[in-house]
Symmetry: C2
Subunit: 125 residues, 2 copies
């Protein structure tokens, strides 16, 4: 299984991927919405404790990869100011069949919120 | 909720989407693999009973949209000869939060296989 994780301060580019033998690809994109806590915003600020965040994301994917036979996982989290409508996170999982890819992508997002030191630091008016 | 379904004989292009208020986007891509029934292939042939297939896909999405608060769903299924490595189907679901988008994308694929008249017609050597 191939794992790639990154934290970036720029926009998240298109996913270029196709693991050999992959019949299913599931992608999740988390997009910044126009309000936070009831107020209209133009952007959302994210901060990360970067080395630990990357490590944790990799560990979560390794663990999920032991439970589910996936071929490839790639996660990119953007930090800093992310404008409304832009992707704050993109998760890509490829596997032979679709059930595993759906399971890993959804489980990764649950674990990310709980275990990875990346925080919303509030909205930019 | 916005619904778009299409059956195409050409390649499936990139998804351009962003429903107002969408915070989550889930995409599923079904990719043709290099073997079918144990034999190496260069492409897979799909056929559809087209008007009924488009209708059924739309109905499935409408039903799922009543159960889950999603904002937008788009499905494109390619038919004819689809080369190995190319997408045979792309499903895109947008919603406010991620659980609904995951649920609808995964449920749509289960229903598609069962209820929509699109068939694999065998591999091209």
């Amino acid at each position: 299984m191939e794992i790639e994780v990154a934290i970036t301060e720029g926009p998240i580019g298109a996913a270029c991927a196709c693991a050999r033998g992959a019949g299913a690809r599931v992608e999740f994109t988390g997009v910044v919405r126009g309000e936070e806590g009831g107020s209209a915003i133009s952007a959302l600020r994210y901060e990360a404790y970067r080395p630990m965040a990357e490590n944790q994301m990799r560990k979560i994917l390794e663990g999920l990869g032991r439970e589910h036979p996936i071929l490839r996982a790639r996660v990119i989290h953007r930090i800093g100011e992310v404008p409304v409508g832009d992707a704050a996170i993109h998760v890509l999982v490829e596997s032979g069949h679709r059930a595993e890819a759906f399971a890993v992508a959804a489980a990764f997002m649950d674990r990310l919120k709980r275990d990875v030191p990346i925080w919303k630091r509030g909205g930019v008016p």
